[in-house]
């Protein structure tokens, strides 16, 4: 388990969000030059050091679900700027530019899918859309996905990749934490399994709501997982942070994760868990 040994400490908060163009890619962690096709085949994990590259919702859908089984729901939900928010430029302009650039409408894709033949409802967040931030639409789509899982009585998967709640929607973003958590509470009362998958990064309001509420919580290796961002903590307490702070291994060690799963095993391990929950004991 090589990834446990990696001691390199980085506080660079925003590693590259997208794979660069070209035939070759340099590993952000060990510097290895990797043939892009090879990296794709390895599910975007460095063959040399096991660094997990950040990937998009599209790639996770390909990795996790049976071929062509993912059917998107609520694809047309779009953001409304009800605060008329403006910093250096209007929020709605920033949003529309992101829509154009990414070809996505928001920072989460939701749908029904099959995972090793198990029916599931899934919500896959995407960091490339405004840092995977949770505004009204993300909250509403996640909430509807939870309701869908309840309606279909199938397990729910949420894959988080998010810097937290979206500031541009102020209090409305904050309330999405309450909304999604409330829906999950109802799902739990109905005994529908919920598996939460944390990827790099999962912080802020996303962690402090649905990400931390799974029956099973698993994380990819070396993902940044926390409530406050490392920079804010460092500033507040005025001292350096311990090695490995807020990384998957640290969070597991402190008791807030069930397991760390290498991307190569992600689908198979989740399938095992789904098998377990679906199994009926003899009586």
């Amino acid at each position: 388990m090589d990834w446990f040994k990696r001691t390199k400490q980085t506080l660079k908060s925003v590693p590259k969000t997208e794979l660069p163009d070209g035939l070759w890619v340099k590993c952000e962690n060990c510097g290895e030059i990797i043939y892009k096709k090879e990296l794709e085949k390895k599910l975007y994990v460095c063959p040399k050091c096991d660094f997990h590259f950040r990937i998009t919702s599209k790639e996770y859908i390909r990795i996790l679900f049976d071929e062509d089984s993912f059917k998107e729901i609520n694809a047309n939900l779009m953001t409304v700027d009800s605060l008329n928010f403006k910093d250096s430029k209007p929020y709605i302009d920033k949003y529309m530019a992101t829509v154009k650039k990414t070809g996505m409408k928001e920072a989460v894709v939701t749908g029904t899918a099959k995972l090793e033949k198990h029916d599931v409802v899934a919500a896959i967040m995407d960091f490339k859309f405004l840092g995977g931030s949770m505004g009204s639409v993300v909250g509403e789509k996640v909430a509807r996905a939870i309701d869908k899982a309840l309606e279909l009585k199938v397990p729910l998967l949420i894959l988080s990749s998010s810097g937290g709640a979206r500031m541009h929607e102020g209090i409305l973003s904050l309330m999405q934490m309450a909304k999604t958590s409330a829906k999950l509470a109802r799902l739990a009362e109905n005994k529908i399994p919920y598996i939460s998958i944390l990827t790099n990064p999962t912080t802020g309001g996303t962690t402090a709501s649905y990400a931390m509420l799974g029956d099973i919580i698993l994380a990819e290796p070396d993902a940044l997982i926390g409530f406050a961002g490392p920079r804010v903590i460092k500033q507040t307490i005025g001292q350096d942070l311990p090695p490995g702070f807020q990384r998957s291994e640290f969070v597991l060690e402190h008791g807030f994760l069930d397991m760390i799963v290498h991307r190569h095993q992600l689908k198979q391990r989740i399938a095992g868990i789904l098998d377990f929950f679906a199994h009926k004991n003899p009586h």
């Binding site: 047309n76 939900l77 779009m78 953001t79 409304v80 700027d81 009800s82 605060l83 928010f85 403006k86 910093d87 250096s88 009204s136 639409v137 909250g139 509403e140 909430a143 709640a165 979206r166 500031m167 541009h168 929607e169 102020g170 209090i171 409305l172 904050l174 309330m175 999405q176 934490m177 309450a178 909304k179 958590s181 409330a182 829906k183 999950l184 509470a185 109802r186 739990a188 009362e189 309001g205 962690t207 402090a208 709501s209 649905y210 990400a211 931390m212 509420l213 926390g226 409530f227 406050a228 961002g229 804010v232 903590i233 507040t236 307490i237 311990p242 702070f245 807020q246 402190h254 807030f256």
Partner: protein, 322 residues
């Protein structure tokens, strides 16, 4: 009323305070000299009242944030001591520690016995260090939840007083699962089978506020603020400079009137003229009456329906199109 000797005055309060001091001086002078100054004093008092009305009717969002943070603003314990005929504080989360940034206990509010939970700031540096400036650790949220479970067990309504600059961002807080503690409270509060009333009495910063902020009624005192992040935090990220906090406060729409318009809160609780710090007794009395009004409504609703309505309430929050 705040003590005169160490009164803290905000920039926009200065004209009012100057005038008030002048009036007080004239009173003293009149008394000492025996001169008849009553007419002049009355005239000035009228002017002061006019000035107060003008200034407080046109507060910017940033000015309200400053009032919410006023060092002499009443905090949870100031309200509790004035509102409740009985309060027995219960300490500790029975897991790790007692978080001094949250006070919680058994309380009597007129005809009701309730569980009362409030975030608590300090009045001076020493007290603030003790209270961690009102920034709870995970054990604070877990203590709050322990008391809420007590409320469920003995069928008591829950009232929470929210006043925090945020959940504490520190190493220990992260090690002990700040995010999990808050997330679990949201999860559980959403389905708690007793009435819950949340009152924002000062600062409502982000998940740290929401962690005790899910309920059937969300009330907010007039000069409180509540948002997804502090204006400084927002400015530091989006403007790359915390000094742009006033603009961030405007952009995020953080005040009580904003939140009423956005259908997040149910009611604005009027503060004494000039802000809650000008008259603790009056401020507490108005908050108490508001809580009682809603409690009297909520206790009539069967738990199942209460939870359904709560779900409905939070389901509607947000803005989107499709």
């Amino acid at each position: 009323m705040a003590k005169k000797k160490q009164r803290f005055v905000l920039e926009f309060e200065k004209p009012i305070v100057n005038l008030e001091e002048k009036i007080a001086e004239m009173r003293e002078y009149a008394l000492a000299s025996g001169l008849e100054l009553e007419d002049d004093i009355k005239r000035l008092e009228k002017k002061a009242s006019q000035l107060r009305k003008e200034i407080y009717a046109n507060l910017s969002r940033w000015q309200r944030v400053q009032l919410a943070r006023h060092p002499q603003r009443p905090y949870s314990l100031d309200y509790i001591s004035r509102m409740c005929s009985y309060f027995e504080e219960l300490h500790g989360d029975r897991r790790f520690a007692d978080d001094k940034a949250i006070v919680s206990g058994l309380a009597k509010l007129e005809e009701f016995s309730i569980i009362l939970i409030g975030q608590q700031k300090g009045k001076d540096t020493k007290e603030n260090l003790y209270r961690n400036f009102g920034m709870p650790h995970p054990e604070g949220y877990r203590k709050a939840m322990r008391l809420m479970e007590l409320a469920v067990k003995f069928n008591k309504p829950v009232v929470t007083l929210i006043d925090t600059p945020g959940a504490f961002p520190g190493i220990g807080a992260e090690e002990r699962g700040q995010a999990e503690a808050i997330a679990y409270n949201l999860f559980r509060m959403a389905r708690l089978p007793v009435p819950i009333i949340n009152v924002i009495i000062g600062e409502g910063a982000s998940g740290g506020a929401l962690g005790i902020g899910v309920g059937d009624r969300i009330l907010m005192t007039e000069n409180s603020w509540y948002s997804v992040i502090s204006p400084e935090g927002c400015a530091a990220i989006l403007w790359r400079d915390a000094s742009h906090a006033p603009e961030a406060a405007e952009a995020m729409k953080v005040t009580a009137p904003d939140l009423l318009k956005l259908k997040i809160i149910d009611e604005i609780i009027k503060e004494p003229e000039g802000g809650a710090h000008r008259d603790y007794d009056l401020a507490a009395n108005v908050v108490k009456e508001a809580i009682l009004k809603h409690l009297r409504e909520l206790v009539k609703i069967p738990p199942k329906k209460l939870i359904e309505q709560r779900m409905e309430k939070f389901s509607k929050m947000g803005a989107w199109k499709e």
